[in-house]
Symmetry: C2
Subunit: 457 residues, 2 copies
């Protein structure tokens, strides 16, 4: 029996999609120029048991399972492989439980990040991880890529909030990993191992995430700079001053121009680079920290700086940060980098990126979680310009080389997917890559989960 027939017997027929137009819309994520192929079907289950039935069908037929949420990934991790079954979990989007006293939430993988955050806020609780894709991306995808965001400079990444999960294993079993207690060391941290494994070790059907009390009000500290290197110096100064901002974001001239062209905010007239810091320490101590951050900006050469007391103004500045990526996309295909370097190397890294852009005649705009050293150079090309594309890809490779030279990593929060597979080989010891292969074989013995992604077997 062909796989599609078996899928139709395993789950309700309306969950199995073979219409070529709809299937096409599930073929790839948002990574530019990452290869993808045509799946035999897209399946949109509603329950964990249905996911299990689908995985079992695929096991029987040796069909690859490519799991995806909203498809907002930027590394090609959710791209379809030839003849695979795309397991789309976007319909499994219920928030099962928010426990106010124990401070956790139990959610299905297709719950959108912002929806979870809103539901938590209603109960005075906060789910911190806030990738820029939070209005669209799902918790399952966030877990699969260990997503970061703006506030992780103080509050950590997705990994720091995952307590437990339910998964379908590589042998088609439905099991629970991790815990719902505040602490626990009963066996290996297999739930932690699933975080950031990009769909290669199992299918997540439910996640239990830790919550915090609602965040205290934040002060916004804005600084305008003439050069990206001055701004980088300000970032290092903030760290050296012992401050822990609740956000520290950088937006460069190219992004500001693109945002202005779209939303007419007038930012690019005033600044070449904008730094946006936030401090959420309560009370007077927080006020003092905000002033200290301001001094760091000024001493690094800010041309203008202020602690914003106006919430609307502050929100507008952060809106510009969030709009930077879609604003750049309006200009042409964007190849997104995600390197992360030690904080002290942020100025040097930014300067190397500038040089790489010149060397390859490629426009590179920068948005960055600067306080983490996590930089997102955006390499912009023109539609249908093969030469520009080749130059951009060469620049992309050089940025990876530079990050590794500066003791950085090839991916801070987007994951390896397809675009960083070569980078991973550069970054990891071959012995460690072999350890990856052994672990993969141990948990996915039939090699059905997202084959060909992250590393070659």
């Amino acid at each position: 029996m062909p796989i599609v027939e078996q899928l139709l017997k395993s789950v309700p027929a309306d969950q199995v999609v073979v219409d070529p137009d709809i299937v096409a819309s599930y073929q790839h994520d948002e990574a530019e120029w990452a290869p993808y192929a045509t799946p035999v079907a897209v399946v949109r289950p509603r329950t964990a048991e249905q996911v299990q039935a689908i995985v079992r069908a695929c096991l029987e037929h040796g069909a690859a399972v490519v799991t995806r949420g909203a498809g907002t990934g930027l590394s090609g991790g959710a791209n379809a492989t030839e003849g695979c079954v795309v397991l789309a979990l976007d319909a499994m989007n219920s928030i099962k439980e928010i426990d106010q006293l124990e401070r956790y939430a139990v959610v299905e993988p297709g719950v959108v990040n912002d929806d979870l955050r809103a539901a938590c806020a209603e109960q005075g609780l906060w789910y911190p991880p806030d990738p820029a894709s939070s209005p669209w991306s799902t918790i399952g995808g966030n877990v699969a890529t260990n997503a970061g965001g703006l506030c992780c400079v103080k509050y950590g990444v997705t990994r720091d909030y995952v307590m437990g999960m339910q998964i379908v294993t590589g042998t088609g079993e439905l099991v629970r990993l991790g815990r719902r207690t505040a602490k626990g060391v009963a066996g290996y941290d297999l739930a932690g191992l699933m975080v950031g494994s990009e769909g290669t070790l199992g299918v997540i059907t439910e996640v239990t995430v830790k919550l915090r009390p609602l965040q205290d009000p934040q002060r916004t500290i804005a600084g305008y700079f003439d050069s990206i290197v001055d701004a980088g110096r300000a970032v290092a100064a903030v760290a050296a001053a012992g401050l822990t901002p609740s956000a520290l974001e950088l937006i460069d001239k190219q992004c500001l121009i693109a945002v202005d062209a779209w939303k007419n905010m007038g930012l690019s007239i005033e600044a070449n680079v904008v730094l946006l810091g936030r401090i959420d320490t309560p009370g007077l101590v927080g006020d003092q920290e905000a002033e200290k951050m301001l001094s760091c900006f000024d001493e690094a050469g800010a041309t203008w700086s202020a602690v914003s007391t106006d919430q609307e103004e502050a929100d507008a500045l952060f809106a510009a940060r969030r709009l930077a990526y879609p604003a750049m996309e309006r200009l042409g295909p964007v190849l997104t980098e995600d390197v992360c370097v030690p904080k002290r190397h942020v100025p040097e890294m930014l300067s190397r990126i500038e040089q790489i852009g010149i060397r390859y005649d490629t426009t590179i705009a920068n948005i960055a979680h600067a306080g983490d050293g996590n930089l997102h150079p955006l390499l912009i090309t023109s539609h249908d310009d093969e030469q520009a594309r080749t130059r951009a890809q060469a620049a992309f490779a050089d940025i990876i080389d530079a990050a590794l030279e500066l003791d950085g990593t090839v991916t801070g929060e987007h994951g390896v997917g397809l675009l960083k597979m070569h980078g991973l080989v550069q970054e990891l010891d071959p012995v460690v890559l072999d350890m990856h292969r052994s672990v993969k074989r141990s948990l996915d013995p039939h090699g059905i989960f997202n084959p060909g992604k992250v590393f070659e077997m």
Copy 2:
């Protein structure tokens, strides 16, 4: 060539200990009544390369490697198995680097927890995990058991601070896992997998831990209660009030009596149960939170309560907490429990422990990281009283059953070792146990690392 001869050729001769008296002192950790055997040798290497040479010698001879630090473990995880080589890392105790700007420390595994904390403090930095064993236990052991402590109710456990490490693998290779950047998702979180794996997956030769700025000054809130159930209600009330204490410890009558008998602090005359809370939120907001915690204590029925403004008085109260365990040990063999339950079940769990003590005619004292739901019932027996020992072991098993019934875990922070192996089988799905076995085989293919611990292969 016998293993000892090869060890003598692999590392300097003075590092290989075969003197029976000295070997005997390395045979077991501090777990009561956990079995142990005689190792063929104890080896005390000074470098990662020497660890590698030792592991390679053991691989060649098929000798088991039991790694240990200070031997302060409470589950038997570091107990010698028959014919094994004990790899004692206590001499690898150098702090290689403290990076103030990037906020991390690079340490050898034998560095004592308090020594690292002191060295960090000199640079205005803080390594939070603070197990009660911190004056003696080593970072390597803390990582191997994912140690917790007093402050993890707010600041998390060892896992939350491990960024990367160097290990010797199951094939005798020396490799680096993890990262030194603030973020990173390049490949599987193998460094995280090592945390809490109790020496069964590799030998840690170096650890990079995340640091925080020095902790803000803490206010201490003390409450005296008539009953352990009242105190448990106060703990639940603190969580329900949305407070996040920087410590919330419980000490019961039995412990207070033992501490008084030893140090004459006079606590047991005034209280049956003492709760010690701490708040480190800076400024006025922190003062308000301390008052709020005081109200929680009072409303739960505290017979006396106060926010301590006297640092010496506060330190004395916490000293009583830290002295409780050694004070109990003076009375006879102590079997230490480490269950962790949801916060809302703390009163019920404490009440069940009380009943279990009565049922088995066993004195059970309680110290607890109550704010985490992590309880340490201490089962006290008399020397050379076999019947009392049998009763205590039955009580120990019943406490585990009760914790699992209340959605808890068998070990919050001490690890499985030998004492919780049966509990682990109760707690985990058989499929998940099989996943453990697969992962173990994938990373320790020759089965040399700490065999017979945590789970049966």
